[in-house]
Symmetry: C2
Subunit: 844 residues, 2 copies
């Protein structure tokens, strides 16, 4: 026995009605707001979610009172009203209540063509969505005979006449929509949008406002900003004499336009009303709204409204404009822009409207897009740059010696690696579009070709486009959107700076990086890696001489030649940063990174050093390591070959004096990498203090400096207390710390990380999102112990995670002083930090 449910529980949308989003859905609430603004919304009744759920559960709707509310000439639409506009819902059904009698009346009042179109539309909807007949049979355009054919088809398929009772029509429509919402497809779709599987649905029954009539009629949408650019501009569409699709429609421009008729000219009063309604919505609803409206013989009706869909750049512009106009506060403006969306604005993007010839996919490792000719070596990239030709560097993976080639390239594509591989890290630092782990491509460096899954072969010099935002490699040239670092962008971030309560610095190794950091208004450099400075060709040779030196004296002689170059490096950075803090990490990588590993390279080196090849080979072999990540690098090198740190400290101090003499005073920060015991810090500190004293004497200058530790081994986090006794700051290097906490090399993780995340072995790639449970606990332990031993110790994160909103929230909660991230992540970080400050203000 089927249970009946009487649709008694409905509420008319009046200004004072008890309508809530939770009980009636967003659309019900939105329409009520329009009504309160005196917008001409047709009469609308809202069915609450519990009624809709009962119907879906099988109860038969008894629509008596509901139908009666619209009087004898029932003609309504039924619209879905879920809790959130993005959660979708079944398609609206229009013209419910039409039947032969009503059709006849409409033929009189609106003409046969219009009446036919309205009836046909309902028959088609009902047949496919309610009676579930084959949709292919009900696709005819309105026209002579189409209505009769549809009614006949309905009869043939159901052995029944098309239902003529308006109340029955309404009941069936409600039931079909309630059930559609509970279907598997609808559930999956809304879950993909972030809705809970059991999200409820409200339904709205609205008096039809026809876009057809004897007088000026039509329907359209209108909005008052551009959804792509955010500029104040009326856009939308209006078609005359139409209700949805129709053959006899006539298209109007909204505003005056030389190309044709416009609503503004044809119906100036209606147009003016729409503009007034838009303005009212903007001020009272505090949002840019898109209005859906009809005009029936000169009568305007607003039948629906929606927040204007917008690109990231439009979102920024709209929020800033609303705040500047006093419609919303600045804090509200800040919260209206999703931080991650900002990174789109910093780079060229493939125009989403343009066609794409995708040839492969990989991991989107650094956002933005670029087009250029394929090169397979760093040397070829540099040659390209010399010819002023855009190129894409394609490598199996990149290594430190490729850095200059990456500088020269417009984008990077690698076959291997993950989001924190060398290529990815460097590319993000350079703001260079980058795809890594594109394992679908087959690289044949010998033939200088690249094969892609569909069988095409690309050669050196062929043009491709790398879309680092979504990880797609495209053949040929693609249309691009320009970066949007405009006033709105800058304004919003300044507002964000005023509310955030954690510092944001940038990781910057080169003057270019530093300038980018300044452009994005980072509060200093949180991590300046110095090793890249030794890869210039002239420096590399000296570096190798140093490595091959047999005595400390010979090492010193080689390093003395590097000293002026390093000093110039640091002076340049200090000058650019103009007094902002610069945290310089002492030399970190294993020495063998500076040696050639192929026979040819070793022969050249033997010649250059005038030593037998066998000796060069032996030394290179002796320096090779099983696990370079866990080998002789960082402070271990600093203690075993102390001449390197001595030289670097001297270069830093001499640059400090020099830069302070011609610019803002500099207080350099020196950071010791890979510490695992407090005594390491003690030993290095003693030598660096001595160098500082010597430079002060020699240059007759005064300066102070801060010495700190990069906490990147689990042991350094555990022993942070005693380490802090010798360190003014502790900066957590979460890249290496993650590697060691998991026992997982980021360079080797790519082969299984995908399947690990898919199987939910790891909730997220820990190199991408900070592992709060494991690595995060070490951060908390380290921070607490560091502070306990030295209450003024500066705490920060300088790993790749630094710019992630999740990490910023974590570090802020843990009381860290700042995070440091790639320059191109700085805007995201500034905005995200402001969000957290607004959403969870600190106590005290």
């Amino acid at each position: 026995m089927q249970r009946h449910v009487e649709i008694a529980e409905f509420t008319e949308l009046t200004p004072g009605a008890p309508i809530t989003v939770a009980r009636h859905g967003w659309r019900a609430k939105c329409l009520q707001r329009l009504i309160r603004l005196n917008l001409p919304v047709p009469r609308t009744l809202a069915l609450p979610v519990e009624t809709v759920r009962a119907i879906a559960a099988g109860a038969m709707p008894d629509v008596g009172r509901l139908a009666a509310a619209f009087g004898p000439d029932l003609l309504v639409s039924v619209r879905p009203s879920p809790e959130h506009p993005e959660w979708g819902g079944p398609r609206s059904v229009l013209n419910v209540g039409i039947n032969a009698a009503r059709h006849a009346a409409l033929c009189d009042s609106h003409g046969t063509e219009a009446a036919d179109a309205l009836y046909l539309r309902f028959v088609q909807s009902y047949a496919t969505h309610v009676a579930r007949l084959d949709p292919d049979m009900f696709t005819a355009e309105p026209g002579p005979g189409a209505l009769d054919a549809a009614l006949a088809a309905y009869h043939a398929e159901t052995d029944d006449e098309f239902p003529q009772d308006p109340a029955r029509q309404l009941a069936e429509v409600l039931r079909s929509m309630a059930r559609a919402w509970e279907g598997t497809t609808a559930r999956l779709l809304r879950q993909a949008k972030g809705a809970p599987a059991e999200a409820p649905l409200g339904l709205l029954v609205q008096q039809m406002a026809l876009g057809i009539g004897r007088g000026f009629s039509g329907s359209g949408t209108i909005q008052f900003v551009d959804g792509v650019t955010g500029a104040a501009q009326i856009t939308g569409r209006f078609r005359g004499q139409v209700q949805g699709r129709s053959a006899s429609e006539e298209t109007f421009y909204l505003t005056r336009d030389p190309r044709g008729a416009s609503l503004e000219e044809v119906a100036p009063r209606i147009f003016a009303d729409l503009v007034a309604h838009g303005a009212a919505c903007r001020v009272r609803l505090r949002e840019e709204m898109q209005l859906e409206f009809t005009v029936e013989s000169g009568q305007l009706a607003i039948i629906d409204a929606l927040r204007v869909p917008r690109s990231s750049r439009a979102a920024v512009k709209i929020a800033v404009a609303l705040a500047n106009d006093g419609v919303i506060g600045r804090e509200d403006a800040i919260l209206r822009v999703e931080p991650r969306a900002l990174s789109e604005l910093l780079h060229y993007q493939v125009d989403p409207r343009a066609p794409r010839d995708r040839i492969a996919r990989g991991i989107a490792a650094s956002p933005g897009a670029a087009t250029g000719r394929i090169v397979f070596t760093a040397a070829a990239a540099q040659a390209s740059a010399a010819r002023d030709e855009a190129c894409i560097l394609v490598r199996r993976e990149t290594a430190p010696e490729d850095i200059r080639g990456m500088h020269a390239a417009h984008a990077v594509l690698t076959e291997r690696g993950g989001v924190t591989s060398h290529a990815a890290v460097i590319a993000r630092g350079l703001g260079l579009p980058c795809i890594v782990g594109a394992s679908e491509i087959q690289l044949n460096p010998r033939d200088r070709t690249l094969s892609v899954p569909d069988g095409r072969v690309f050669r050196e010099g062929d043009t491709i486009t790398v879309d680092g935002t979504n990880g797609e490699v495209l053949a040929g040239v693609a249309d691009m959107l320009e970066p949007a670092l405009d006033d709105g962008f800058r304004t919003l971030l300044r507002w964000a700076d005023n509310v955030r309560d954690i510092g944001i610095r940038a990781n910057a190794d080169t003057p270019d990086d530093a300038r980018t950091a300044r452009m994005f208004e980072a509060e200093g450099i949180g991590l300046c890696r110095t090793e890249h400075m030794f890869f210039d060709e002239d420096r590399l040779t000296v570096m190798r001489e140093m490595i091959f030196a047999d005595t400390s004296r010979d090492r010193r002689i080689a390093l003395e030649r590097l000293l002026p170059m390093q000093r110039a490096d640091f002076t340049a950075l200090f000058d650019i940063m103009a007094g902002q803090p610069v945290c310089i990490r002492l030399f970190d990588p294993p020495l063998h990174e500076f040696l050639p590993h192929d026979r040819e390279g070793m022969r050249e080196l033997a010649e250059a050093l005038d030593r037998p090849l066998s000796e060069v080979t032996r030394r290179v072999e002796a320096l090779t390591e099983f696990n370079p990540m866990l080998g002789m690098r960082g402070v271990r090198l600093g203690i075993t070959v102390p001449e390197i740190y001595d030289m670097q400290a001297r270069a830093i101090f001499e640059a400090t004096v020099e830069a302070s003499r011609h610019g803002a005073p500099v207080v350099p920060e020196i950071m010791i990498p890979l510490v695992s015991a407090a005594r390491e810090v003690e030993l290095v500190k003693t030598r660096i203090d001595a160098v500082a004293a010597a430079v002060k004497n020699e240059m007759k200058a005064r300066f102070t400096y801060r010495l700190g530790v990069m906490v990147e081994t689990p042991r350094a986090a555990l022993r942070a207390g005693e380490i802090a006794e010798h360190a003014a700051f502790l900066s957590f290097g979460t890249n290496d710390l993650t590697q060691m906490t998991y026992g997982l090399s980021r360079d080797d993780a790519g082969r299984f990380m995908g399947s690990y995340v898919t199987q939910q072995v790891y909730r997220e790639d820990p190199f991408h999102i900070l592992d709060v449970e494991g690595v995060g606990e070490l951060l908390l332990i380290g921070a607490a112990r560091g502070r306990a031993h030295r209450s003024d110790v500066t705490l920060s994160v300088c790993g790749e995670h630094g710019g992630n909103p999740e990490s910023i929230a974590f570090c802020r909660a843990a009381g860290f002083d700042y995070v440091s991230c790639s320059p191109f992540r700085v805007p995201v970080a500034r905005l995200a930090a402001a969000h957290f400050a607004l959403l969870s203000p600190k106590k005290g």
Copy 2:
């Protein structure tokens, strides 16, 4: 002005005198004990440490009362008495008080020759140690004219007569000895023995008991056990008519001897007295003592006594004998043997008395010694073994494919590596003498030669000896001492087992290891690594087929061929262990360890697999990792290529059923390596449970098994709580955990570990001694969280540290259930655990 100190503060050694070790030194206390036993000790006065310190500080000793105590005919010896016998001290000075008058009297009573010898001896001592004259001038043997020459030389050098006042002689001797104790050399020497730099000295003044006289006279030492073997046997020496070195001495055997006269025959009463004194000492001092004695005209005097110096094997034998005789308790016997000393007893040792032709030094990585012919490859080692010829495997470093060669060799010598390198770990497991990191040697594998620092070149086939106990490589054959796994050894360890309160298991991978573990009475296998099982030539081929399989099905087919072999491996282990627990670690290493890395090997593989060489090369390259330690291995492989664990689980369960049917019931323990997230355990557990269910059905058998986790990443320790929810046991793999906590690869650490420990950057090599502060804290965190989530979770350590006394103490204090170590470390571990149980009993 020189301050005078009156030597009033002295105490005669009488049975009731208030003599303490702290105030008068060990020798004073020891002599008092002998006096209490009524041994004929000459009158002895003890100077307390504060007096000696005052003299050393410059006070002038006033010996009036002291000298008076010995009457007018002062003739005494002065002996040092530090707090501990091993802390050395200045040389004793004899015959203090002799002068021209006394010499004349002695000529009458003892004869001119004897009197001359006594006076000469004192003049020589005084001249060199007190007057600090050139020792070369005072070395003459006693004989006609020697005394006069010495006195003349003294006069010539000092422009003074030799001092004739006995009291002055005594004062000067006391002063010189007090000062010598404060000298730099003496300080360094005693610090090397573990003494504090400021350790004090007591001095003893003893009435001279001459070994010279008209009747039967002489001096000697006697002890009642053999210091090398520990056997009950009288040894020592006796020389007639002598006091120290002398030309006219006559040597006697102590006991009857066909080769010549013996004390036992010549002076049976004295001999019997000595034996009685020895027996009294043994019972009353509860120790085997060595007695120093003199006989003056038939009068016996005991002038000093010392605990018998003993080898490790003698220490065990003596302690067990004392306990068996009821002289000491068993617990006392246990505490009298230093645990580390036991490892000497398990292996052949180079006889310390034999000459050594040392050609190089390295790190003593696995104790014991062996002689054999040099081979440079594992294949050559196997060929040697086939010819039944002892060989020493010499490699730059060893890799898993060398394991069979190591099995075949009698010792291993490598140029590289540290105490936890592959060679060292495997060698200790095999009980094979091993030296690693012998960087002094130059290996030329191509010429098959080995150059050593002194320029000698050794070729394949030349004989050398590897002394893994002290890290020395010797040329040729060396005399050896046999292992001493005798009854005393077994008895002592059984006693230790009765008191210890932490379990000791062995790490055992092969039936040979398991048998060794049983021989040393380990309580099961705590870590059975399974990967070596795949290196047999027939298995390696199948393994490689598995690696090259393109589908899961092909992988299964290859693995099915390995299944019976694995099952046989496990059945053998279960049979040997006879119901004791066996903890099997699932496959751990990265797959590329099973692939060839040179061109030749790859060509052979391509042939064997019937695939193009280019494909083989590409696959091998693709599997190569930057940091294999942190790569795709352990459970990561188990999840990504689950067929391997499936096969291993099936082999374990089928072996369980088989072994249980013909022997003791088996409850296998299965351990998952390299876990970093609880979900990994969950996933593997689900599959293994399914395999168990299938095997039970197929074999119609019942069995239970325990699944646990090897905690070897810092993250696993931090997340031990949730991991324990799926794990019956947590076994801490401290090797890898140390590597990851420090960010330090044990294979690469060798290059700087030496200088790190020397500079005290690390207090100890953390791969050798458990790092209690860092790694230890992770153990404590892991243990506490594991227990909190699962109170009955079994906790253990199975890394190389397992057998170290320090680690055992730590694990015991932390409430661990057992430690697991190399089979050859089991005896040390059993004894050390007993020591801790006795020295710091657990509460409750």
